[in-house]
Amino acid sequence: MNRWSYVLVRVLQVIPTFFVVMVLVFVVARLLPGDPLTAILGERATEDMVVRAKHELGLDKPVPVQFLIFLKDFFQGNLGDSINLKVPVTRLILERMPVTLFLTTYAAVLAALLAIPLAFVAALRKDTWADNLIRGVFQLGLSMPVFYIGLQLLTLLGARLRLFPVGGYGNTFGEHLYYLFLPALTLGFNLAAILMRNLRASILEVLQAEYVDFARAKGLRPGLILGKHVLRNALISTVTLFGLNVGGLIGGAVITETVFAIPGVGRLMVDSIFGRDYPVIQGLTLTFALLVSLVFILTDILHAQLDPRVEAA
C-alpha cells in the first residue's frame, strides 16, 4: 500500500463515524428539554406564530426529511442562526475559530519546546536531582486545574509585574504572540507534562537499542546520535499521544479563553450555554468533532512518516 492510499483509507474510515456523530447531535438537539421554539420566539408567542415559525424552520416535516435537510445544510456550511446574536452560526464560528486555532497551536508548540529538551535532560540525567526536579514540577502541574494555573500566572506576571497584558488578543501576528503567551503557556502545560513523561520513557528505552550502540561504535558525534537516531525513534509514540491529547487541548481552550477573556470559540461555547443558544452549541459540537477527526488523521499520517512499518500493516 503506498502512502496516499493509506491516507485515503484513514479518511474513509472517519466518514461513517462522523455520520453517526451527526445523527447523535441531531437526535439530542431534538430531545432538548424546553422547546427551542420558545427560546426563539419568547414565552408570549401566539399559536399562529408557532405554526409559522415551525414551517419556516422545517419542523413540520417528517423527522427523516428534517435529518436530510440538516445534512444538506451542514455540507453547504449552513448551521442555522444564533438565537441571541441573530447572525449565522457559521459566520460566528469562522470569525472566532482563528483565535482558538492560534491559541491551541501556540500551546502545542510551547508544550513541545518545553517537553523535548527537558525530556532529554531528565532521561540523560536519570535519577539525579535534575530528573527529579523536572518530573516533580510537571507532576505538580498535572494535578493543578488549568484555570488555577491561568489565574496565578495572570495575577503574578500580568497584574503584579505587568509583563503581560491581562486579556484580549491583539491585532498583528507579533501582538498575538505577546497577548496569547500566558494563555498558551497555561493551556500547554498539562500537555507538556504528558509529553515529557512519555518522551523520557521512550528515550530511556531507545538508548538501550542496538542501533544506538552501533551508531556509537561507528564513532558518530553524540549530538548526531541523539538528534537523528534517538529523537526520531522516541518521537513515534509521542506523536500518537499528542494526537490523542488534542481533544484535551480544545477542552482546555474552553477554560483558558474564559479565564483570559479571549474571544475564541471556547468562550463562545460557554456564553452560548448560559444564553441557551442551542444552534450555536450544536454547530460548535459538530465543528469540534470534525476538528478532532482531522487531527487524528494528521497524526496517523505523521506517525506513518516517522515509522515506515505502519504502512505495511
Partner: protein
C-alpha cells in the same frame, strides 16, 4: 551493600515500605476525614458572614484568611472537601463498575458486542471530553447531579477499553482453558477467574481518574456549570476569589492548593497500588 556489584532482587519485596502508597493514603485520608467530620475540623461556619473580619490575611485566628464576606477560608476549604471527595467518587464509581462489566463481556465474547463497543469508542473519542461533558450539561442544565450524569455517560469508555484489553490477554491463558474444560459457566470464568487477574490497570486508573474528576468538577464549578454558589466547592471558591487575586491572594490560592494536593494524593495512591498489585512488574 556498597561493596556488592550485582544487585540481588529482594525476596521480601511484598513487605517493602512503599513511600508513594503511604504518602498518598495519608493525604487522601486527611481529606476523607475533613469530608466526614467537617464540623469537628472547621473552626467556623462556612457560610456565615462576618462583616467585622472582611478580607483579612492568614492569621492564627483565620489560618487561610477571610473572604470578602468575612467567611473563614480554611473552614470553607474543609467543607469543600466534603463536596470534592463526593465528586471524586461519584464521577468515577459508575464508570468504573459499568466500564469493567462492558470490558469483561466484550473482551470475553467478542463478535458483535465487541464490534459495537469499538464503534462507540470511535465516536466518543471524536469529541473532546470536556466539550462533550459541557454539551451534555448544557442540555440537562447546570448542577452537580447533571454533571455526574454527563461524566458517567462518557467516562466508562476508558475502563471498558482497559479491562477489555486485559481480558483478551487472560482469555488465552491456560487456566481459562482449564475453566472451560471443567465446564464452568462463562460468568464464573469471567468474574471469578479472569477478572481478578485483569482488573489491576482499571483500579490503578481509577485513582488517577478521581484526581481528574476533581479537576473536572472544579473546572465546571469555576465556569458556573457544576456546583452552584454559595456551595463551598473548591472550584467555586477559586471563582469567588478571582477578582481579589491581586489584593487578597489567599481566597483563591488555598482552595487551589487543596485541589493540587488531592490530585497529588490520588496520583501517589495510584502509583503505590500499581506497585503493590503488580509485584512482578
Amino acid at each position: 551493600m556498597a561493596a556488592s556489584a550485582v544487585s540481588v532482587p529482594k525476596k521480601a519485596s511484598r513487605r517493602r515500605f512503599r513511600p508513594s502508597l503511604v504518602t498518598g493514603l495519608v493525604i487522601i485520608g486527611i481529606f476523607v476525614l475533613m469530608a466526614l467530620f467537617p464540623k469537628l475540623i472547621a473552626p467556623y461556619s462556612p457560610t456565615t458572614f462576618d462583616y467585622q473580619a472582611i478580607l483579612q490575611g492568614p492569621t492564627a485566628k483565620h489560618l487561610f484568611g477571610t473572604d470578602n464576606f468575612g467567611r473563614d477560608v480554611f473552614s470553607r476549604v474543609v467543607w469543600g472537601a466534603q463536596l470534592d471527595m463526593q465528586i471524586a467518587l461519584f464521577t468515577t464509581l459508575f464508570p468504573f463498575l459499568f466500564g469493567t462489566l462492558v470490558g469483561s463481556l466484550t473482551g470475553y465474547y467478542g463478535r458483535w458486542a465487541d464490534a459495537l463497543f469499538g464503534r462507540i469508542v470511535d465516536i466518543v473519542v471524536t469529541f473532546p471530553f470536556l466539550v462533550l461533558v459541557i454539551a451534555i450539561v448544557a442540555v440537562l442544565g447546570p448542577g452537580l447531579k447533571n454533571m455526574y450524569i454527563a461524566v458517567s455517560a462518557v467516562g466508562w469508555i476508558t475502563y471498558g477499553r482497559l479491562v477489555r484489553a486485559e481480558i483478551l490477554n487472560q482469555k488465552k491463558a491456560e487456566y481459562a482453558l482449564a475453566g472451560r474444560v471443567m465446564g464452568y459457566t462463562p460468568s464464573r470464568i469471567i468474574f471469578r477467574h479472569l477478572l481478578p487477574n485483569a482488573i489491576t490497570p482499571a483500579i490503578v486508573y481509577w485513582m488517577t481518574d478521581m484526581a481528574l474528576g476533581i479537576l473536572l468538577g472544579s473546572s465546571l464549578g469555576y465556569l458556573g456549570l457544576g456546583a452552584q454558589p454559595p456551595t463551598a466547592e473548591w472550584g467555586v471558591l477559586i471563582a469567588d476569589g478571582k477578582n481579589f487575586l491581586a489584593t487578597a491572594w489567599w481566597i483563591s490560592t488555598f482552595p487551589g492548593l487543596a485541589i493540587t494536593l488531592a490530585g497529588v494524593g490520588f496520583s501517589l495512591l495510584g502509583d503505590g497500588l500499581a506497585d503493590l498489585l503488580r509485584p512482578r512488574g
